[in-house]
């Protein structure tokens, strides 16, 4: 019997080496894989490339989510749409300590999906003619300007779902899905943390949002902090 479950977050990320390219699901603090992020922080992995909509979130004077990884200088490069979400990113970037690849939010989601779906590249109107089109191939289709965007993959995807089974089938809740389903398709190894881990057959096959084929490892998150911005 196949069982993809791991005992702990740290156990599930043991082979993540320095220099890894990692996607993190979540939008703000909604649907972030907070246990896997904490485990990665504890493990001390360095020179990470982070792909995530935002580099953590700020609440008052404190920063949460991915922010501690940035603050600790573990991140070499950030690819995402909203780097100004934290003060720590801004400071590190101004000090020349972290690279930035800025991607429009929808293009980010679509590039990730493209990688997962075996698409070699695609044309969008988003950003055509703007600063974010620099270096990208332009093309006129039906009289409108498009730019070519390329798929975006990673060594690992850390995703969060509400419920999952030991085959890796995932179900999300509310706006907690966001980037998680696309990222689950786009990495060599996808590690999912869930609030409820159940046996196969406990999830209605029609309700599965990420089929288990996209998930290599799954675990029940140790602790779910609830933040409100």
């Amino acid at each position: 019997m196949i069982d993809k479950s791991y005992r702990s977050s740290l156990d599930a990320i043991r082979d993540v080496r320095d220099g890894a390219v990692i996607m993190f699901g979540g939008f703000g603090l909604a649907g972030i894989p907070q246990n896997l992020i904490r485990a990665l922080y504890e493990k001390g992995t360095r020179d990470i490339t982070v792909i995530s909509n935002n580099p953590g979130s700020r609440l008052g004077d404190n920063e949460y989510g991915l922010a501690p990884l940035f603050q600790a200088g573990r991140v070499k490069k950030y690819i995402g749409s909203y780097p100004t979400a934290t003060r720590s990113f801004k400071a590190l970037h101004e000090a020349g300590k972290v690279e930035l690849e800025l991607v429009p939010q929808g293009t980010l989601a679509e590039r990730i999906r493209a990688k997962g779906a075996g698409i070699g590249g695609f044309y969008v109107r988003t950003g055509a003619g703007t600063l974010l089109a620099q270096g990208k191939e332009a093309r006129t289709i039906d009289g409108r300007q498009y730019i070519l965007e390329m798929p975006l993959g990673a060594d690992f995807a850390f995703v969060k779902a509400y419920r999952g089974d030991t085959f890796g089938n995932l179900v999300y809740r509310y706006t907690g899905a966001n980037f998680n389903p696309a990222m689950a398709m786009a990495a060599d190894i996808t590690i999912a943390e869930v609030e409820e881990l159940v046996e196969p057959g406990m999830i209605d096959p029609d309700a599965v949002q990420t089929p288990g084929i996209f998930v290599q490892r799954i675990l029940k998150g140790e602790r779910y902090d609830r933040w409100y911005e």
């Binding site: 939008f27 703000g28 603090l29 909604a30 649907g31 909509n53 979130s57 749409s81 909203y82 780097p83 100004t84 979400a85 990113f89 801004k90 970037h93 101004e94 800025l102 991607v103 429009p104 939010q105 929808g106 293009t107 980010l108 989601a109 679509e110 990730i112 999906r113 969008v124 109107r125 988003t126 950003g127 055509a128 003619g129 703007t130 600063l131 974010l132 509400y162 999300y172 809740r173 509310y174 706006t175 907690g176 899905a177 966001n178 980037f179 998680n180 389903p181 696309a182 949002q209 609830r226 933040w227 409100y228 911005e229």
Partner: protein
């Protein structure tokens, strides 16, 4: 009494543009005020790009859930008949032209309807969904102060700020007036109480078409 509209009045004016049954994306900041301006007999599907169609309003104290937020990361509620979906499908809606209307803030709007609202020169840039919305939504209304804090025009002949999108703005609602972007140029459609056409012309950096009775 100060001349012109306050933010609440501007949001109300924007709400009047929203048809029954339409889908509307609200930018963060002032546009979210529009949420509370919809008459109860009108069904509006507010879209938030992080994955909800049918946003209700801000969640009352105690009923907030950290996984139910809007694009500004504020806890919200959902209406009867709402749906949740992932970011890729959410932006398919925006880019594919399925959202009827977006209401956004702006740094500048040009006389051709070019929009600058994602970053300013010298700033660390963030873009979020602004460019996707500018490229894909059927109709865009800009809700902004008529001038910058130091009195410079925000409605200009050519953008000096980095563009978000081109020829995408349909209507501009400011504290002073309502301006429609037409093929012929910027048309002054309405003046706020106590504001004259001359007041608007003086604070606008682009040509205006002023009808006899705006």
């Amino acid at each position: 009494m100060t001349a012109g509209m306050n933010e609440k009045e501007m949001a109300q004016r924007a709400a009047a543009e929203i048809r029954d049954g339409s889908s509307v994306n609200l930018g963060i900041g002032m546009p979210t005020l529009v949420l509370d301006c919809i008459p109860p007999d009108r069904t509006v599907f507010f879209h938030t790009e992080n994955g909800l169609l049918g946003m209700g309003g801000f969640a009352p104290q105690g009923s907030a859930h950290p996984d139910l937020v809007d694009a500004g990361k504020q806890p919200v509620t959902s209406i009867r008949g709402a749906s949740f979906f992932p970011s890729d499908l959410s932006f398919a809606m925006l880019r594919g032209g399925h959202i009827d209307l977006a209401i956004m803030g702006a740094y500048q709007v040009s006389e051709k309807g070019d929009l600058a609202n994602w970053t300013a020169p010298g700033m660390l840039p963030s873009v979020g969904g602004a460019m996707d919305i500018a490229a894909g939504v059927q109709r865009i209304i800009v809700l902004m102060s008529h001038t910058t804090k130091d009195g410079k025009p925000k409605i200009v002949r050519e953008l000096s700020y980095p563009p978000t999108g081109f020829a995408c703005v349909s209507l501009i609602i400011t504290d002073l007036c309502v301006i429609e972007v037409t093929p012929a140029g910027l048309l002054l459609r309405e003046l706020a109480a106590g504001v004259s056409a001359a007041d608007v012309i003086k604070t606008t950096g682009a040509g205006l078409i002023v009808p006899e009775k705006p």
